[in-house]
């Protein structure tokens, strides 16, 4: 199976790399694709130039510049030049993307033809969105998308959101420190342990503490152990789930990670989650000063700027660290999220003393077409053009764009070596890490996608923030979250939440 996958990847890679070399008339006109030129496909530059949308208007609500907002605007401009369409792009802060689309959706209005958002909005948005037509689902460009990201953008087997980005949380570390023989010897001498890529959160904490608060890269500045998203409500709950999966996602226990699917009782205050939150509270000791107020941007700047040994979350910090202007380019490594040396079994009510690791396929950017839009064809063509091969290859090379790998062909190390000047070993490790998470693991956790998902996540953010601030103990904080979750389930209806949650559980349990 693996051999078949590798051969397929090599074949796809050969085709892509063969197509990347040539500049053409399109790259002369659109320098964004200068490295690859146009790449033939259903939504290529050539194909779009044959469409005529003159006199028609497309309105898009997207994120603020640069993350996702910049590529949306850039591709809107290109799309407009190719097809004659008038494309209006509205930029909205991340926190308001949901409500800015949801309010008109609920009021029966259609101010936007295309809405950008996160893939976990799907359950709440789906009744207002137009499913992706078969001609796009079946096109070659879409066949390259990994199954995990097909699932993330689909509901009950029907694709509703258009895959434009891929996201997962993984570990980023300073390779020049972890692989440094001098530091390995020093670490061994002082702790008795091996300095290596942390296999468990316990090792992560030990190393982060060891390398906290001193100038280990001799740049005249103090460095710290870990940069994490800890700012309340600022995606922090996703960071908490990343730390929780190893302790709580038991591959031998089916039927739910966040809830017991049968009873819809929250599992959020179980011993696995409490252990993760206890670790996280400890982590406040090895983050940079003010690290407890780090949002995603701070985390990217902190790790990407060389301030910390470790980081874990979306790709952006890694890509930022590997950009040409980064002081730590080719000094960082990627690895799966740390695991744990025990995992909670909620059926037996006991810890299992065995190594466990689980990838967290966290939600990411996605886009969809409003059901009531009068411009379905043009809107889907725009999204298809946004994610065409040439644009996608160019976009994933620009860290600030927020477009990360989600296609099988993205996991070819050669692309990063050739187009972005990455060290071949790092590119190999990066590609293998991501591919293994997507295709190799049988213990995946998918994000919560149920009605009222924001109420559940907001409760987690509040509870964990209280624990991090020392207002409550980890157990008290998560008990409070569990009480809130029960109330939310009661308000929305246990059967309604169960019906939606079952779709995510089916993905996890079918692995």
């Amino acid at each position: 199976m693996k051999i078949t996958s590798s051969v397929s990847l090599l074949a796809i890679g050969a085709v892509l790399l063969a197509g990347t070399a040539q500049a053409d008339k399109w790259s002369d006109q659109f320098p964004h694709i200068k490295n690859s030129g146009d790449i033939p496909g259903q939504c290529s530059y050539e194909a779009m130039s044959k469409k005529d949308y003159s006199g028609q208007k497309l309105t898009i609500n997207t994120h603020a510049v640069p993350v996702m907002g910049e590529p949306t605007a850039l591709h809107a401009e290109q799309f407009s030049a190719l097809t004659g369409a008038e494309v209006k792009v509205i930029h909205t802060p991340a926190g308001d993307l949901y409500s800015k689309a949801m309010i008109p959706f609920q009021a029966g209005q259609t101010p936007y033809d295309i809405v950008f958002g996160f893939s976990n909005f799907l359950r709440d948005w789906k009744q207002y969105l137009q499913p992706i037509p078969a001609k796009y689902v079946n096109m070659k460009q879409m066949q390259d998308v990994t199954q995990g990201h097909i699932d993330v953008n689909s509901w009950g087997g029907e694709m509703i959101q258009f895959p434009i980005d891929g996201d997962r949380h993984y570990l980023k570390y300073r390779k020049d420190v972890i692989d440094n023989p001098e530091y390995q010897a020093k670490y061994k001498a002082e702790t008795g342990n091996e300095l290596r890529i942390p296999q468990t959160w316990k090792e992560y904490a030990e190393m982060a503490e060891f390398f906290n608060g001193w100038d280990w890269d001799n740049d005249g500045e103090l460095e710290y152990g870990s940069a994490e998203v800890m700012k309340k409500d600022d995606l922090m709950y996703a960071a908490f789930f990343s730390r929780s999966v190893a302790y709580s996602k038991n591959p031998r226990v089916k039927g739910g990670f966040f809830f017991d699917l049968e009873t819809m009782e929250p599992l959020i205050n179980g011993p696995g989650f409490v252990a993760a939150l206890t670790d996280w509270v400890e982590a406040t000791k090895y983050v940079p000063p003010g690290g407890m107020n780090f949002g995603l941007g701070d985390e990217i700047n902190s790790f990407g700027g060389g301030q910390t040994l470790f980081s874990y979350s979306w790709d952006d910090a890694f890509v930022a660290a590997m950009q040409d202007d980064s002081p730590i380019k080719n000094k960082v490594g990627a690895a799966p999220l740390p695991g744990s040396d025990r995992v909670w079994n909620r059926l037996s009510g006991a810890w299992e003393d065995t190594y466990n690791q689980a990838p967290y396929i966290v939600w990411g950017w996605t886009a969809a077409v409003a059901k009531e839009s009068k411009n379905h064809d043009m809107a889907f063509d725009y999204l298809c053009f946004f994610a065409n091969d040439a644009n996608h290859q160019a976009d994933i090379a620009i860290g600030r764009f927020g477009v990360n790998p989600f296609r099988k062909s993205d996991f070819l190390p050669e692309i990063y070596v050739k187009n972005q000047g990455w060290d071949p070993e790092i590119a190999q490790q990066y590609s293998e890490t991501l591919l293994e998470m997507e295709e190799g693991s049988t213990n995946l956790v998918f994000p919560l996608r149920v009605p009222g998902v924001f109420q559940f996540n907001s409760a987690v953010a509040t509870g964990t923030a209280k624990a991090l601030a020392g207002q409550l103990s980890p157990q008290e904080a998560l008990d409070e979250v569990a009480v809130d979750w029960k109330k939310i389930v009661k308000r929305i209806g246990a059967d309604t939440v169960r019906e939606a949650y079952a779709i995510g559980v089916a993905l996890e349990d079918s692995e």
Partner: protein
């Protein structure tokens, strides 16, 4: 003579009042009696369920309200003291008087959200210039991630931003004061302190009360500073009522419940400001 047509002239104003004041409040009251959220959109009727939930099962709102009281009373008190001092400073003829008057107004003329982003950068605990300075003395205060200091930082930013407003109102008041009481005080041999205590302060009482109430109303809506600086954290230590209502309404999309929070908040505020105004009048005007 028939003056009935005069009502026609009032009609446009009345319609505007209905559109921008009465209708939104009426709609919010109706919304507060519904369960409208992301999953059940629409104005169903659930009676007082949201209010019962608020009064029996939402300690977070009341905690946020307590925090709001602390922050708004402290910031307005400091703004009044500093604003009055600055107004007194540039009231009399001094060198560069016009320059100082303009200078003191600059913070108010800047956009709050943008300035809060600047303040957030300034107080950034590992990258900001404030801690660069403190690190010279071996200190790294946690301006944004300590429970106590984060409140102090919010107060500092609010005071910086809105003291000029207080300054402007009080300076206008000072410039409009009659000269006769000062001449009388001067003839009686009163020094600057006695003149301030017995002449300036009492004469300024009505405008002081107005300025304090206006600022209290504004300060009680504090939202952007908290949102940008701390997002209500660490934990919930800087979460205020308006920020909490924002979370419930526009983050969690519980429109019905957030409407109930808003109406409750509005009623509490109307009562509070009426009481505060009466106390201030008693203290500053009648109390002498």
């Amino acid at each position: 003579m028939n003056f009935k047509h005069k009502y026609m002239f009032l009609l446009p104003g009345l319609l505007v009042l209905l559109a921008i004041l009465i209708f939104p409040i009426g709609f919010t009251v109706r919304l507060s009696l519904s369960s409208w959220d992301s999953f059940y959109p629409g104005l169903d009727f659930i009676g007082l369920e949201n209010y019962v939930r608020l009064f029996t099962d939402d300690s977070r709102f009341w905690e946020a309200f307590g925090r709001l009281s602390l922050l708004s009373l402290t910031t307005v008190f400091l703004q009044y003291i500093i604003g009055f001092s600055l107004a007194l400073l540039v009231w009399k003829e001094i060198r560069f008087q016009r320059l100082f008057r303009v200078l003191f107004l600059i913070p108010m003329m800047t956009t709050p959200v943008i300035m809060t982003v600047v303040w957030r950068t300034v107080f950034h605990e590992s990258l900001g210039p404030v801690n660069d300075f403190f690190s010279l003395f071996g200190m790294q205060p946690l301006w944004l991630s300590s429970e106590i200091l984060s409140k102090f930082t919010v107060i500092l930013v609010e005071v910086w931003q809105w003291t000029p407003f207080m300054f402007l109102l009080l300076l206008a008041g000072l410039l409009s004061l009659p000269k006769e009481p000062y001449l009388a005080a001067s003839i009686d041999g009163a020094g600057p302190v006695r003149t301030f205590v017995y002449v300036t302060f009492p004469l300024m009482a009505p405008i002081s009360i107005g300025a304090i109430i206006i600022r209290l109303i504004e300060a009680s809506k504090i939202m952007d500073t908290v949102y940008v600086l701390t997002s209500g954290g660490p934990g919930t230590s800087t979460e205020t009522s308006s920020f909490y209502i924002f979370i419930k309404g526009l983050r969690e999309f519980q429109f019905g419940y957030s409407a109930a929070l808003s109406i409750t908040y509005l009623i509490i505020m109307i009562i509070s400001f009426t009481v505060i105004a009466k106390i201030l009048v008693k203290l500053m005007v009648r109390g002498k």
